[in-house]
Amino acid sequence: MLHTAGDIHIQNFCLSYKEKQVFENFSLCLEGGKWNVLLGRSGVGKSSLLKAIAGLLPPSFYKGTIKTADGSSLSGQISWMTQDALLLPWLSVLQNALIGNKLRQLSERDAISDKQARSLLSDLGLEPYLDMKPDSLSGGMRQRTALARTLLEDHPIVLLDEPFSALDAITRAEMHDLTSHYLTGKTVVMITHDPLEALKLSDIIYVLKGPVIKSAETLTPSSRPLRNIKDSSLLQEHEVLMKQLSDSKALS
């Protein structure tokens, strides 16, 4: 793709939810081409922030601006992946991966090619299952199909809304490896409540602390991502994160 992965600037972001202030004058710069993790406890408001970045909140819901470094809007540059794989049960794995063609009613020329989808799905280990329906797949395979759909969109920014939290431990570890491999070079913004997952995958971790979020504490892990979670320096950083997160409880 021609897009160079640029930074995402969030400026003076204010958001209230059910008359409760969640974000107040919150500014953050998410680095382009890196794996950014927003870490926070459940219900802290990290999901709302991600939705705002994705352009899913109507502008009247929040104040502030979310733009790329060159000031352009983010819309049309984003792919999104959630905890729920959101596959359509009546379509096969291949058709689900290519659903974007149908939804955008693209002409033959602009459409994502069948060949490209097949080869990506094969790389993800789904070749024997191309014509199967999601019902007969395991949670991990469904999430891999969702990953293929996300990657085929080929946008420079990928937002991950706790995509691994419904998976079992082994599948989750496999998905970590795959996702980390395939999303290299893209601007990734992932939200999670799991410090270990954050430490394993991230280039930069932003800790969001309630009740009213004004700024984020940043932690840059000392080594390159896809770290071994048994690494001693990682465990030390894990301690630090746990402490920061439990601080937020004391505040609320």
Binding site: K51, A54, G55, L56, S75, G76, I78, S79, W80, T82, D84, A85, L86, L87, L88, P89, W90, I99, G100, K102, L103, R104, Q105, K133, P134, D135, R142, E153, L159
Partner: protein, 252 residues
């Protein structure tokens, strides 16, 4: 095996109870004829009964088809056009709060004694349940899917066709089941108010001439027809949903 025997056991039980009721109450044949007398009449007047049943059958089927079609169209308009929703919902509620039976004489006056007034009656009875069920299903497109469609830049019409309508099919099919179960009411009421053929007409006619056994025979035919229509519809809808892997509302 027991599943196969059960319907016969139930029917035999009902017939025995009926016979017992005649025996205990010593009801004269012009109040409650016994099963044997009814079956004799059924056999003797089978030609007449079948002819009238054919008319009623046609009314039910046509009413069901037109009513379902009209209901689906209304639901689609309600779900896609915002202003239609605000204007049409009150109209829908008003038409539905009016007892349809009260309209029957007017329909006969306007549309005559023939088929159209009965079909119109059936349409009126099933229109609302179909519209309400389908509209409800269309409104309940999962939030995550709406978000994904927005991020994927989906065309609203394509999203409606490829995602929202299929996901609303389980709701629509419950509406269609209710419709098929209530459609005979419309046809019969229509025939009672004014007609020269059909099972409703035959029953009214037989009643006037104290031919209670013929009345019961007509009732028997009607219930067999209604039950088989319902079971067929139920079976077909079930197969359709299973074919689309939607039978237990899986959306993952």
């Amino acid at each position: 095996m027991i599943k196969f025997i059960r319907p016969f056991a139930i029917i035999t039980g009902l017939l025995l109870a009926w016979q017992a009721l005649v025996y205990i109450t010593e009801a004269p044949p012009y109040i409650l004829p016994d099963p044997l007398a009814v079956s004799q009449t059924l056999y003797r007047r089978l030609d007449t009964l079948i002819n009238h049943a054919g008319i009623t059958f046609l009314e039910i089927i046509l009413g069901f088809l037109f009513g379902s079609l009209l209901g689906c169209c209304s639901a689609l308009i309600l779900a896609t056009v915002k202003s239609a929703r605000d204007w049409l919902t009150p109209v829908l509620v008003i038409t539905q709060s009016l007892p349809v039976f009260a309209l029957a004489p007017i329909l006969v006056l306007w549309l005559g004694y023939g088929l159209p007034s009965k079909v119109a009656m059936t349409v009126l009875i099933i229109y609302f349940p179909v519209t309400a069920a389908f509209y409800d299903g269309l409104r309940r497109t999962p939030k995550d899917w709406q978000a994904l469609a927005k991020v994927m830049n989906a065309k609203p019409m394509a999203f409606l066709i490829h995602v929202r309508i299929p996901l609303a099919l389980p709701s629509l099919s419950s509406g269609l089941r209710v419709a098929m179960a209530t459609a005979p009411i419309g046809a019969i009421v229509g025939e009672w108010v004014g007609s020269s053929e059909g099972l409703g007409y035959l029953m009214l006619h037989a009643n006037g001439r104290m031919q209670i056994d013929l009345m019961f025979a007509a009732l028997l035919i009607l219930s067999i027809m209604a039950v088989s229509l319902y079971l067929t519809t139920d079976h077909l809808l079930h197969r359709l949903l299973r074919h689309l892997s939607l039978d237990d509302h899986k959306t993952r």
